[in-house]
């Protein structure tokens, strides 16, 4: 195997039916340091999170800030070690079957802060060529590759290769970050609020670029954002997170049309509407998320939920299928056996 082969795209293992990424029971807690005479708490940033990403799809992850979206991203790529749970890439569990280094060839990430994620002392070319060089590509070939990637993300290498990050605009910097993420020929790219800091017009350009690259290179995206309009535009399926837990997941159209979890409904209702007949009249959700150091017992949302009943603070709801294809929600109102007064009655189709 020659040096160039080292960065050829990784071959598919499990076929199209096999999810590209399967995350199950992922958990991560951070210890909060207490004072000398005070007990520190534990923040459960990500708590028993499970989802899967199909080959070639865009999975959106949405939620308020602090809900564990970014921690999930960092756990997937191994920047922080999980406390528990399993990550499998194309059927191969990370750890026993797939080393972290090999995983990072297959999964790359684009960060939110386009400036902080570029080394101010390196030129654009050196930044993109760094990954390939680490994986044993010769400097000349890595350079060639960097130029090719610059062209792919719509920047002329003759103009941009020798520039420093501070000489670029926000949109250009984010294109460099995308090129850097693609330099290792990954199959999955995690976009952590990758377009959130950009102007709306530049954001649209970068989103189109991402979709073009996805088709051209056969990529799969995990798209993390708090901007529901953007998520709806780019995603095939969406996972909604609240306080470190998945509260609802499903295909984007089904989720928008028929959100089952009160939190998802509140999020959707909070989107500013341009239609004067559909004006948002009152705040759909009140207050801030509870302190994640001591999250509420039972359903974590019950403190802010308009439909909360005693059962909600007593038991935590499990993620249950809602009946529609691949649509699931963690709410007692979805579970006919929960005892919630608004729980959906048993339907014939579900028994069959």
């Amino acid at each position: 195997m020659s040096a160039t082969d080292a960065l050829d795209p990784v071959a598919d293992v499990g076929g199209p039916q096999q999810p590209l990424l399967a995350v199950s029971g992922l958990s991560k807690s951070f210890a909060v340091r207490g004072g000398l005479f005070r007990h520190g708490g534990v923040v459960r940033a990500v708590d028993d999170v499970s989802f899967s990403v199909d080959k070639g799809e865009v999975l959106g992850i949405v939620g308020e800030s602090g809900c564990g979206k970014s921690t999930t991203a960092r756990l997937i790529i191994g920047l922080i070690d999980p406390d528990g749970g399993e990550i499998a890439f194309d059927g191969e569990p990370v750890g026993p079957a797939l080393s972290l280094r090999e995983l990072r060839r297959r999964v790359q990430m684009v960060f939110q802060d386009s400036y902080a994620s570029l080394n101010p002392r390196l030129t654009v070319e050196d930044t993109i060529a760094f990954g390939p060089k680490v994986h044993g590509i010769t400097p000349a070939e890595a350079r060639e590759r960097a130029h090719e990637l610059l062209r792919k993300v719509g920047l002329d290498p003759a103009l941009f290769a020798g520039r420093y990050p501070h000489e670029l605009s926000g949109g250009q910097r984010q294109r460099i970050n995308i090129a850097r993420a693609l330099a290792l020929a990954p199959r999955l790219v995690i976009l952590d609020e990758a377009v959130s800091a950009l102007d709306k017009s530049v954001e649209a350009q970068v989103l189109n670029l991402l979709l073009d690259l996805k088709d051209e290179l056969g990529l799969t995206y995990v798209f993390i954002s708090h901007d529901l309009n953007v998520v709806r535009f780019i995603s095939d399926r969406v996972v909604v997170m609240y306080l470190g837990e998945v509260v609802e997941s499903g295909p984007v159209e089904s989720l928008w049309a028929d959100a089952r979890h009160p939190y998802t409904r509140a999020l959707l209702a909070a989107m500013p509407s341009l239609d004067p007949d559909r004006r948002t009249r009152e705040a759909p959700i009140a207050g801030d998320p509870p302190n994640p150091i001591n999250p509420p017992e039972g359903c974590r949302f019950h403190t802010r939920c308009p439909y909360a009943e005693p059962v909600c603070s007593a038991a935590a709801p499990k993620l249950m299928p809602t009946g529609t294809d691949r649509h699931a929600a963690a709410c007692h109102m979805v579970d006919p056996a929960s005892g919630h007064s608004k729980a959906a009655p048993l339907r014939e189709s579900e028994n069959a």
Partner: protein
């Protein structure tokens, strides 16, 4: 896909790709203060290196009848010292030891301190605690006293005083290196480098070093003047240079009794120390702005 924003940029100034240090050099040359300071320092260093070949008077040859001549005396442009030795020759020759004592300990402390500081800052955890707490121990003693104690324990001599000065300058360099490394380490580009599969050594070399060297270097340059003065102090106590060796700190001390007889001559070694210190300080300021690519 064509991007309008990028087409506009095409019209903007096209800069050729060049290395980072070429850039820093170009900016440094553009700063008149830095150029003057570098010139003065080069002159003094060249004088020190080539002192024996400049046709100066013997710096050790004294004359009892020509003691403490004022500035401008025929044959002695900068006068004579308390033993009648030519001040010009002694000042030029004195640069050899003074610069050695000022530069070598700081240089050694810079290399050792930066290495320890970057490792402590990047690796963190227990290793950080171990390194930084040992460094803290050194802070329990005043630096001069520590230098005297180490020099005294090792015995008098140039090598030992260089050694003791190196030891006392390592802790402050480690602290600066550790704190800048810690701040750089938390930035996303270090995470991105880790995510690309690079090992800690590669990341420290490529991504951390370039971003922390500037501030540490500037700080170390500012230590040179302090180091020269500490070296002079050690010489005064008989722990460093010994008479009749010409060395600015030692000369300042031996001429101190002549301050009422011939103040201008007595002040000359101090003028040299002052000039070299201020030049290094201004040069380090110039370096700091030249290394900031965002200007």
């Amino acid at each position: 896909m064509s991007a309008i924003a990028d087409d506009i940029v095409r019209v903007a100034v096209v800069e050729k790709a060049r290395g980072y240090w070429t850039d820093v050099g170009r900016r440094l040359v553009g700063d008149p203060v830095s150029v003057v300071c570098a010139g003065v320092l080069l002159l003094i260093m060249a004088g020190a290196i080539f002192a024996p070949y400049l046709g100066l008077a013997d710096p050790y040859q004294g004359s009892m009848i020509r003691r403490l001549r004022p500035l401008g005396t025929a044959g002695y442009p900068l006068g004579t010292d308390e033993l009648g030795r030519d001040m010009l020759s002694r000042l030029v020759h004195g640069g050899r030891l003074s610069l050695l004592i000022g530069l070598v300990p700081v240089g050694l402390a810079f290399v050792i301190g930066t290495t320890l500081g970057i490792i402590a800052g990047y690796v963190g955890g227990l290793l950080n605690q171990a390194i930084m707490r040992v460094v803290d121990v050194f802070y329990a003693f005043p630096a001069v006293l520590l230098a005297i104690a180490i020099s005294g324990a090792l015995g008098a001599g140039i090598v030992n005083s260089v050694l003791s000065l190196t030891i006392i300058f390592i802790p402050p360099v480690v602290r600066v290196a550790e704190s800048v490394t810690t701040s750089v380490r938390g930035l996303d580009f270090v995470d991105a480098a880790r995510a690309s599969g690079a090992g800690p050594l590669t990341i420290m070399r490529v991504h951390v070093l370039g971003n922390v060297l500037g501030p540490i270097f500037v700080y170390a340059t500012s230590l040179i003047s302090v180091c020269m003065i500490f070296g002079a102090g050690l010489s005064f106590l008989g722990l460093g240079t010994k008479p009749p060796e010409p060395e600015w700190g030692l000369m300042l001390n031996t001429l101190r009794t002549a301050i009422y007889v011939n103040p201008w001559v007595a002040a000359l070694p101090g003028v040299m120390i002052f000039t070299v210190s201020i030049c290094f300080n201004l040069l380090s300021d110039g370096m700091r702005s030249a290394m900031d690519v965002r200007d």
